[in-house]
């Protein structure tokens, strides 16, 4: 099951059914254009020379414009109508064709509301914004990026107005990443979580316990960290014959097309944890992409359902697996083999508290589990304000710094440690951050259910049995592509709607043990 290649076959998709062939042909081209756009972006983040910015932005804009033309073409409308008719008279496929048509329609309906010129402007602005952000981040100077950000917010607000005239602009942004999710749904969830996390962080601070991190600090060669990361990713199930791992400024994972899933990483010389947990995180994303049914590649259903579900997979392998005692009971020999500088006396029991230490910090992607979602909520608040018109880009850095001071108790010394740390806004991705927290909640709920279904995973991981958990995810999540909504998947997999209690129980248990917080 680990390969995931055969799973989709059971869903009775037959691309050779020539009555639906036109739909799949048209959709395949749309997906191909997306693949090319994705590869251009991966390349821009990992390979492209600085001088290529302007030319690359034009290529990206052209591809985005062509994809939009095809998403909004009368030919596709005809094919969808024919698909509807065919689906109504087809019973043998278990409703797959109907679901394919519906999935396509969701994208088409959003696309037809947005003028092509705006799509091109957005793509060009995102490509230029990415490069400007990278320079600004290096120079720690927001002013090198501000004009780009003003333009990106403006273009996205135009897009929101086109999609939902008079509606909530931020909801239109959220919907692109987490279909159906709204600001109104998020506010109470995030508010509850923020309160509970603040309490936990406060309790940690008052505990007086200090976690001694010196056992994991050292001088770790990049090549050794990479070798360890690759071995762990492979062990967990990532297939490097169908994927890659490269360095980048900002770690990410991209499913370019079937058989080509790319992860990136970055590292710190004196601490192996950012690299290793970063790679385990991206591996979770990569496993999901590699687990999407091969029979559905280049079809509307062959995509991840939402970024929240995507993030649930990365968080699961990074945190619930990667930070568990069991995993390190199994993986400890690998750690010592690749990083011989670590004190041989460090075993899973001594490592474990260092994986759950709570230390309010400035950088989201290196944050501990308890404070991580506080970082996300800062960005959620700022994005909401930007899109409501309550905050201007010129005031963003100050607002960022104030919120960090209030929420994390820290004020960034410079913009690279602050408002410029994340890549998302530079590419015009607003409404993306909340999916990280949705994913974190989902991961905890899925892992709790997997433990009930499969038995104690802590013990299984200690025996190096990683496949059953992946098989469970393949079955409950990966093989469905985007056939069901995120909410439906969570309900089907766990028997109840998404809630924060599994995450909070997990954090109170781990953090509570490390800091002696009592039951």
């Amino acid at each position: 099951m680990a390969g995931g290649k055969a799973v989709g076959d059971s869903l009775k998709f037959d691309p050779s059914d020539d009555r639906a062939a036109r739909l799949y042909e048209l959709w395949g081209e749309i997906r191909d254009l997306q693949s090319a756009e994705d590869l251009l972006q991966w390349d821009q983040e990992t390979q492209m020379p600085d001088g290529g910015v302007e030319g690359r932005a034009k290529v990206s804009a052209t591809l985005a414009g062509l994809r939009h033309q095809r998403l909004t073409s009368p030919q596709l409308q005809d094919a969808l109508a024919a698909g509807d008719e065919l689906a109504a008279e087809t019973e043998a496929d278990g409703g797959v064709l109907g679901a394919q048509v519906a999935a396509a329609r969701r994208q088409v309906e959003r696309a037809v509301k947005v003028p092509e010129a705006l799509v091109r402007q957005l793509a060009e602005a995102a490509s230029n914004g990415l490069s400007a952000w990278r320079q600004a981040r290096e120079a720690k100077d927001v002013s090198l990026f501000s004009d780009h950000l003003v333009r990106l917010v403006d273009l996205r607000r135009q897009e929101a107005a086109a999609i939902s005239p008079g509606g909530n602009a931020y909801d239109a942004m959220l919907d692109a990443y987490e279909p159906g999710m709204t600001e109104a749904q998020l506010v109470p969830i995030f508010s509850h979580l923020q309160g509970a996390l603040a309490e936990l962080v406060q309790a940690v601070a008052e505990s007086g316990v200090e976690v001694d991190e010196s056992p994991v600090l050292g001088d770790y060669p990049v090549a050794a960290q990479e070798a360890l990361g690759r071995e762990l990713a492979t062990a967990v199930g990532f297939d490097f014959d169908n994927g890659r791992l490269d360095l980048s400024t900002h770690p990410f994972c991209m499913g370019v097309h079937g058989g080509d899933v790319r992860m990136t990483w970055r590292h710190q010389q004196d601490d192996f944890r950012p690299a290793i947990f970063g790679i385990l995180h991206e591996t979770g994303h990569g496993l999901y992409e590699q687990g999407l049914p091969a029979a559905w590649h280049r079809t509307p259903l062959g995509e991840a359902v939402s970024l929240g579900i995507h993030e649930s997979q990365s968080r699961l392998w990074e945190n619930h697996v990667g930070r568990s005692r069991g995993f390190w009971r199994w993986a400890m020999p690998l750690l010592h083999r690749h990083l011989p500088g670590i004190d041989p006396a460090v075993d899973a029991e001594r490592l474990w508290p260092l994986l759950h230490a709570v230390t309010p910090s400035l950088i989201r992607v290196e944050a501990d589990e308890a404070t991580y979602n506080l970082h996300v909520i800062v960005r959620f608040e700022l994005e909401r304000a930007l899109f409501a018109g309550d905050l201007q880009v010129a005031d963003l850095e100050g607002a960022w710094n104030d919120l960090y001071a209030a929420s994390l108790g820290l004020r960034p010394a410079d913009a690279a440690q602050g408002v410029l740390q994340d890549i998302h806004w530079s590419q015009g991705m607003f409404g993306y951050f909340p999916t990280y927290t949705l994913g974190t909640l989902t991961a905890a709920q899925l892992f709790a259910q997997a433990n009930r279904d499969l038995g104690d995973q802590e013990a299984a991981l200690a025996r190096g049995e990683l496949a059953p958990l992946l098989g469970w995810m393949r079955d409950r999540i990966h093989r469905h592509g985007c056939r069901f909504t995120a909410a439906e998947l969570v309900q089907q997999a766990t028997g109840r709607p998404l809630a924060a209690d599994d995450l909070l129980a997990y954090l109170r248990s781990t953090v509570g043990e490390v800091y002696g917080l009592g039951a």
Copy 2:
């Protein structure tokens, strides 16, 4: 002048002239699609995981199909007609707009004859062929690639029949790489050259002189070879802010789009010459791409004129510069600094004969200057026979081995050393090889003229004065894009048509000196 950025401005192209704006807008999109295709191919050769083959082939086919649609669209025809009218009433631009329209028409006229379905089949077959070739080459087993080659030859013959019904199929292939060139023109040139080269190689064999290569053989770390190659490429004028250098199975250079020119290289552990002369070769290509006028990017004229002219630039820097005594008088300290294993007593005088040794061998890209064109002529003969229907793919390996035995006196031990050594046919590129020899002839003729115009380049290179020669090439070749034909450029730059005498004089002089062949 070295940057080449401002050169095109003097040609009075004004992309903001809104009467011609539609033409430039449409053409820009066509060029953007080409850029995306180029990047996909670069990625496939340097980055893509093996599993991505099938998905990548579909993406490539879709992009090629879309580009073909746009090249053959009525909108473009209208824009070209408007461009013609406008050009007729515009005098201030020195004929640039008329030349733009003419350059576009050349591509359009070829495209409209080829059905889109065939274009897509060719793109998909080329993408799949590339991967099959790589596997076959690794396994030294032609059978893993034969079916792909049969299909590629068949598709190209269909293409030739569409372009020139009843005409010479091989001419239709040649025209794609060397516009206007025909088999009938090549046969006498190549025949003359083959005779003269065979005579020279024979004289070398009879001289009894053996060049002792041991002074340059050693154990050279890859990183040191790369560092030396990068320093030389930079010194010669390649701009790494607007380009890259990566490893690949088969070295190549690709101008993806403005500001993004990519070269690749490969190396041998025991001899630095393949890496260094390979990099100097690709640098010559890269300088041409970087020297195309920036004002013409994304316009019909903003392209290299032909592969023969392209190859003249690579051969010039690889051979006439890179294998000269003068260059190594200047570069010798770099060589010793990066490769300290070389005997310190090796100076330019002792190195020089080792750069002109003649040793018939099996691998084209590592061949010496005298035998190189014999390798090309073998391929030319085989391609002609394939396209005339006188040779079947099933008999290709045998025919290859027989021709090598007859021409070079060597028979390949396996297919990797023989018919599978080159990438070109795997991508359906037939008619490409002859441009290497055309380029070699052109390089010799251009270099001889540059010496007349600029004074003795041997002496200039010894002083590290590399810029004047590049400036001369920028002025005579690079800045014109594809405004003139290859034949016109050679005539304008050197005052006479292309001939073999400068190359033969150069080879007789260098090889003659090394082997004591007399005047």
